[in-house]
Symmetry: C2
Subunit: 199 residues, 2 copies
């Protein structure tokens, strides 16, 4: 059974830099070579540290990936929270546009990295903290939708998240870079989903 929680806390600045280097190295390898290319020796070499050092802070390979995914989810949650604050007070249509835009924020920063991470998440035993983050994201969207009188807001939140994720994934895979246009297209689908339900 592979441990997932970190093994030891870095106390000195040097050690903190090491941890960060390891994470970034793992992320880079994941983007360039996909999950099968992600092995501990490669991570250590890319990070410029030795395997032994790596294992002082991460108890297993999976733990590195888990922390990477957790970071991404935390970032997403922050993006969504900002989006909701921005959307407050607007009508449903513009609120949806703003929320979709917020969901795509991490794609704007690093589209390939975001995609690689989301795919990697699938083949990882879900750790409790990341699961909680995902639930909070959905709950946040559901709460917003409920404010507009949407029926079954939880289901709608899940559907809209999935819709966004799916379309973004395909767009990135196709090499699209105009995220404003993509946001607009996703918002059209989302608004259609929400408004067609009421009549």
């Amino acid at each position: 059974m592979a441990e997932i929680s970190p093994r030891k806390q870095p106390r000195q600045a040097r050690a903190r830099a090491t941890c960060e280097a390891v994470k970034q190295a793992a992320a880079r390898i994941l983007v360039t070579g996909g999950p099968p290319a992600l092995n501990t020796n490669a991570i250590a070499e890319t990070a410029g540290v030795s395997v032994g050092t790596l294992y002082q802070y991460y108890p297993s390979k999976q733990a590195i990936l888990a922390e990477l995914v957790r970071d991404m989810r935390a970032g997403m949650l922050a993006d969504i929270e900002r989006g909701r604050a921005q959307a407050k007070g607007h009508d449903l249509r513009t609120a949806v546009r703003l929320m979709v835009g917020a969901s795509l924020h991490h794609h704007r920063r690093d589209a390939l990295g975001a995609e690689a991470m989301e795919r990697a998440e699938a083949e990882l035993p879900m750790d409790a903290e990341t699961d909680a983050l995902k639930r909070r994201i959905i709950a946040l969207v559901a709460e917003l939708l409920a404010g507009y009188g949407i029926a079954d807001p939880e289901l709608a939140a899940r559907d809209l998240s999935a819709m966004t994720r799916g379309m973004a994934q395909a767009a990135v895979a196709a090499g699209e870079t105009d995220f404003d246009a993509l946001t607009e297209r996703i918002a059209r689908g989302a608004i259609g989903y929400l408004e067609t339900g009421c009549n």
Copy 2:
């Protein structure tokens, strides 16, 4: 460099049964254990044949997966073709409903299998034949959409496919089994996407 095209054609009935057993074993392992659990020894054992036998028909592990994915894509293409034949003559909304239903046909047969396969496809070097199948699927949808005067039908086809895939994936992951309800929800999004574009 791993070969992907099959190594030898089975000539006798026994050999054909072996090939089929290998494929089904691989599919089952993929569903129950995910990509990391898919190794040649396990495949051979599950299929009830020896590794040596396996390697007489498949030049590499990837070749097995590739053929599995190819089969699934071929099935999807057939489903979509039937869907289009059924949709012909109806108005846009019912046509969309029928097409979404057709796209989900393989999910109805084996939801977990379909999902496992689609995820596995991502970490596989795209082989030419499968790529051609995917293109044909998109082209078919695009052609249908063009008949209804949709602008940029290729892009719309890609977006709608991605939308369907994303929502279906999330629904299956959440344990949903009512595919009629799911079809209806996806269709709402799709119709919204298509109709909001025109005004």
